[in-house]
Amino acid sequence: MKWPTLTRREGLRQMLRVGLYGATAQFWPSFAQDMASGQLLSVAQMMAPLTQGARVLQQDVKIMAPVLADNGTLVPITAQVQSPMTAQDHVTHLYLLSQRNPVTQMAVFHMGPWNGRAEVSTRLRLAGTQQVVALARLSNGEFRYGQMEIIVTESACVDAS
């Protein structure tokens, strides 16, 4: 059986081709996972669909969460609103918003004067380092918010497999 002979010129051409393919593959943009949103939203963009032009102030809302969360699949968070929680002046809704998650609104809590205290704790799932916003809707239609940056070492949006 006769093997196809490879001349020096042909061999150099092949090597150049392989090199070019390698270089192209290097500069090909890499995508993480198929997610609905990959870009970071600004705090105003996160709140705009909820507030709809109502008065929004950055005060009275405090977020307590770890500054550095090792695992994004479970981040404990407490959101506290300074409110007397009376029938005249209370918090009706408390939204937890995420800057980077595919779903911006992580949860909405419905509250009222029967709660006595406007404080809620839960555990979040975060897709990377981001600002977390707690937005409270007061009974007079105004909004208050507080924000906090949580550094996440390992995103929740990676496969468990």
Binding site: F109, H110, N115, G116, R117, E119
Partner: protein, 111 residues
Amino acid sequence: MAFARIQWPERVLAGDVVKVRLLVRHPMDTGYLQDLLGKLVPRNVIRSLTCTWGQQEVFRVEPSSGISANPLFEFFVRADQTADMLVEWTDDRGVKGSLRQTLQVLPKPSA
């Protein structure tokens, strides 16, 4: 499989603001992750969870995929009188779960 646990302080006096802790067993699948065979796990999160105490709905939460698996919720309730706390939830598959537990409220000692 519907399973939940609810917890509050042992001694609750009338007029107290009581911290209620609620833990629900639920996978809370986001719909973005794959299983071991590389197949996308369909989204299955709790759509809505309500806590009704007596006749009053004291707490309602509508979580999304941004809440971790086996969600924990802590909230406060102003205790007036002994009544049943009824927790009900529904997820994306339409599976409903519920839990009923009596919150004992002791009368306030006259000081």
